[in-house]
Symmetry: C2
Subunit: 226 residues, 2 copies
């Protein structure tokens, strides 16, 4: 069964390899997000903040488990299909290690938000079951409200913070784009999935525009210049 | 309602303060266990091990949330009632920081197992709803099997490991007892709960014997001298 070259039998179904790669990248992304959010929770100035970021971490681990279970259903070994994505994701995290609580909050909202938008766009090019699963594991679950409250309160207390956090957000975006390019250069199956799904260069352009627009909305919600 | 001095209206119900303290200690214990297991997961030599310890961490966070919810039901503020227990629990963790994967596995099974036995014993002296909740959040959930498999495989490959891990387990037990004594010296409500529940010195003696016996069983299961 897993030897079939596509996830379902429809003639225009995406190749199984692309779907497995996408799920593998996202599954490792969630495992890695778990570890980094759990560590960043220790930066919280209050128990309430620490509990909230710890809860986000636990939620990511739950999503990781759902993605790993789907990979097993597809006949893939989660640990094997996650392996090619470890280096890029860990590079992203080590290049964007927050040194303050507010940096970790902005990262959890802006960085993870942009990654989620990217996965959602690519998921639309896969089969229905995969797209549905990815949509389900990428729910925001109150993270926006939390980040907006923390960052706006900090800016109100000390306006100079806004400029520093805006710079920090630009660094997050820069590193996220750079690591995504590394992954795509390495994994033809994912590049093909995007090119085939977007149709042409104009399609890819509007995909990037949608991701950029949603990023700008998040920055505005935080009260930061994008 | 929360101003009532006991959790339910039975005349022999434990004082509300003891129950709140016990739930507060355990709630912080679970939050702290979450953070330390999540960090220790990074020591895993394989993705499978890392995923398994990360899943344990996420489970602890879920337990923390259930205990916090119960505290809110009792009219208590979780962050306030957890605060007095932070120092002792963090001391335990900083004095028993694992330096290898196997040390972290033994800590997750032997250290957390002994703590769970202690909480279970004390929970028996509270009201039914509290005892039931504490019993529910202290389920082992496959941790024994996992620890036994990892440790026995390591000992089979390199028998000298057994002696080192047995010493490590003794250190865990020593620090756990020492921090428990600090907490009890500080919190009269908890000492009273235990003294009242156990009945007399003989009762306390048999409580300690039960905890020690279960610890010895875990050590035997791992193939370690206790």
């Amino acid at each position: 069964m897993p030897s079939d070259s596509s996830v379902d039998s429809a003639p225009d179904a995406p190749p199984r390899e692309s779907v497995v790669d996408l799920l593998g990248a996202l599954a490792y992304g969630e495992l890695s997000a778990f570890a980094h959010l759990a560590a960043d929770a220790e930066l919280a100035p209050t128990l309430a903040g620490r509990r909230q970021m710890s809860a986000m971490a636990a939620t990511e681990l739950g999503h990781h488990q759902q993605l790993a279970a789907r990979l097993v259903e597809l006949g893939a070994a989660p640990d094997e299909v996650m392996a090619p994505f470890i280096a890029a994701l860990e590079s992203y995290h080590s290049l964007t290690e927050p040194s303050t609580w507010l940096e970790s909050v902005v990262k959890a909202y802006v960085g993870d938000g942009m990654a989620a938008d990217f996965y959602r766009e690519v998921a639309a090019f896969t089969d229905d079951a995969t797209a549905e699963l990815i949509g389900r594991v990428l729910v925001d679950a109150g993270r926006a409200e939390f980040a907006v409250r923390e960052v706006q309160a900090a800016i109100a207390a000390q306006p100079v913070v806004a400029g520093r956090l805006a710079l920090w957000a630009r660094r997050l975006v820069g590193e996220a784009i750079s690591q995504t390019q590394h992954v795509l250069a390495d994994r033809d199956s994912l590049t093909e999935l995007i090119v085939r799904g977007a149709g042409d260069l104009a399609g890819i352009g509007s995909l990037i525009t949608r991701i950029t627009d949603r990023h700008a909305e998040r920055m505005t919600a935080l009260g930061l210049d994008s």
